[in-house]
């Protein structure tokens, strides 16, 4: 479990993390979402014990990261941003170094080593220097380091950043497998990742918590939630008729491919009505889709809304 209570970090006059309070329970995969510079990494660094909070507290499995740093660090597996590694070491040396620092006895150490190497498919590169490895492999070495001690809490800072789609998929699968009984905190600015991995989302911007919800709840806030979009050539007339339906709030046409999106009024279902109308018009609809809502739109809405009002004074101070 990870718990933060009004966790705050200042750099001079700048507030990087502003009274962040949240709680991540076992079994949850929480996505910490935010634009670049929102304070995601700073928050994680405080939880990991690398930075000292200016005020507020953070605990890992009940251990305060400032008062009981070693206990907190033992319970935590942490992948720092960019997965830094000792480039001049081989994968084997590096992992054995971590095992030694973590104080494993020889036999359990070997067992954990074998298990992790197998799980992350590092057998073939064990004797290679880390700096000669590809980005994806280096990330896997970083992950291996983080899960060596089978920690109950896992914290990964942008675990798939800069990886190709296949590598991203592999990393996500791994996280999925480990998610079952662990507490996992992932920071990302990739919205697809939230869909793929997380069962809870916290959005922060300018260090402040702006939303705490499930991905589905966030999608529901989207203008696109429940909207119907379709492609049908020559639908100009029917668009006008659609616009007259009482449930419909607005209609937009994509100028590029002519795709029509019909937005419902709040809480209305429009799929049947739209479909019926199109059928009655005898239009040939090549494809029709009910939208779940767009996270990127909600994300933009939430993170830019605060920028105008109270945050501008902060900017002036910085």
């Amino acid at each position: 479990m990870i718990e933060t209570d009004r966790l705050t970090r200042r750099y001079g006059g700048l507030i990087a993390v502003d009274a962040l309070s949240m709680r991540v329970e076992p079994g949850q995969v929480l996505g910490l979402l935010g634009p670049n510079g929102a304070g995601k990494s700073t928050a994680m660094r405080m939880i990991a014990g690398f930075l000292v909070p200016t005020s507020g507290t953070a605990t890992v499995c009940g251990h305060d990261v400032v008062r009981e740093p070693l206990k907190a660090k033992r319970a935590l597996g942490y992948l720092p941003e960019g997965a830094p590694n000792y480039g001049e070491m081989t994968v084997r040396e590096f992992l054995q170094f971590v095992i030694r620092v973590r104080g494993f006895k020889a036999d359990t150490g070997f067992r954990r080593f074998d298990e992790v190497v197998q799980r992350l498919q590092l057998e073939e590169v064990l004797e290679q220097c880390i700096e000669t490895l590809s980005k994806g492999l280096r990330r896997r070495v970083g992950l291996a380091q983080a899960i060596l001690h089978d920690p109950p809490v896992l914290m990964l800072d942008e675990p798939t950043d800069g990886l190709d789609p296949n590598q991203k998929h592999a990393v996500r699968q791994l996280i999925d497998v480990m998610a079952r009984d662990r507490t996992i905190l992932i920071s990302t600015h990739l919205l697809e990742e939230v869909h793929a991995l997380c069962n809870r989302v916290v959005i922060i911007a300018r260090g402040r918590l702006l939303a705490d919800a499930t991905p589905a709840e966030l999608e529901r806030q989207s203008r696109y939630h429940g909207a119907v979009s379709f492609s049908a050539p020559g639908s100009g007339m029917s668009q006008e008729m659609l616009g007259r339906l009482p449930q419909v709030a607005a209609i937009e046409v994509d100028p590029l491919d002519g795709r029509v999106t019909v937005f419902p009024r709040r809480g209305e279902r429009i799929l049947e009505a739209v479909e019926g109308l199109l059928r009655a018009q005898g239009l040939e609809v090549s494809e029709i889709q009910l939208e779940r809502g767009r996270l990127d739109e909600v994300f933009r809405q939430i993170t830019t809304a605060t920028e105008d009002a109270p945050a501008s004074s902060q900017e002036a101070a910085a």
Binding site: Y11, R45, A48, G49, F50, L51, V52, P69, L70, K73, R74, L76, Y78, P80, E81, G82, P84, N85, Y86, G87, E88, M89, E93, F97, V98, R100, V101, R102, G103, Q145
Partner: protein
């Protein structure tokens, strides 16, 4: 294995996988030889001791120890591995101690490899080997102080070059403060007590006594306390950086 042991092992390995260690060893051995025989007039003195050998050590360390210690923290801060290291379950003290001991041991190895000169002097004459042992011990203690200074100042910056220069600067001051010429220069302009303090703080002053074979507890204490002091300062610097 304890975390300190793990750090020592990692550090020592990292010296030897890069050419740094070998280059250091070669330069150290060649220079210590050349300086002893040419600048130190090893033969011309006609005395069977290693005085000219040990007298050169402060100057050798001045260049070579900062080269060893400059990367100690600066490299980790720059490469981001500092975050990795400090989020492992070990204290700042354990990390600092491990790195310090690794560098100190490494210089101990370099010192041991100068044994041919000890064989030479024993072949040529019959020196007092007790004095030589004391010389080696003193030299190693002094090296430890250099290393501790380097360890602290490497934590100050992300730039290895800056770490090198800062370390060399502090070390040269600590050497020069004990040079008779320097003390004489300030004689009369500065109060006598201040000069006395400068001399007591100087490494040279304490090293010369040991190199002569006088193992005074106060001299040894000076080096040990210097090491502890600089290491504490280094840990404080690292801690401060986490808070700032």
């Amino acid at each position: 294995m304890s975390p300190v042991g793990a750090v020592i092992r990692r550090e020592l390995r990292s010296y030897f996988v890069t050419p740094v260690a070998y280059v250091f060893l070669v330069i150290f051995l060649v220079l210590s030889g050349i300086l002893t025989f040419y600048a130190g007039d090893f033969y011309e003195r006609g005395q069977a001791d290693l005085q000219p050998f040990f007298v050169m050590h402060p100057w050798l360390y001045l260049i070579l120890v900062p080269a060893i210690t400059m990367r100690m923290w600066a490299e980790e801060a720059k490469g981001g591995t500092l975050e990795l290291l400090l989020t492992l379950p070990l204290t700042l003290w354990q990390a600092m101690l491990g790195k310090f001991l690794a560098a100190w041991l490494f210089i101990g190895i370099a010192l041991l490899l100068t044994f041919p000169i000890w064989i030479t002097v024993n072949y040529l004459g019959s020196p007092d080997n007790g004095v030589i042992m004391a010389g080696y011990l003193g030299s190693w203690l002094m090296a430890g102080t250099f290393v501790a200074i380097g360890a602290c100042l490497s934590a100050v910056t992300q730039s290895q070059v800056v770490a090198f220069i800062l370390t060399a600067l502090v070390c040269v001051l600590l050497i020069l403060a004990g040079q008779q010429q320097v003390l004489d220069f300030f004689h009369g302009t500065l109060p006598r007590q201040l000069i006395r303090v400068a001399m007591e703080l100087s490494m040279l002053h304490h090293f010369e006594a040991i190199a002569r074979g006088v193992l005074d507890l106060r001299d040894m204490l000076y080096f040990v306390l210097s090491m502890v002091g600089w290491l504490i300062a280094g840990v404080l610097v690292l801690d401060l950086k986490r808070m700032r």
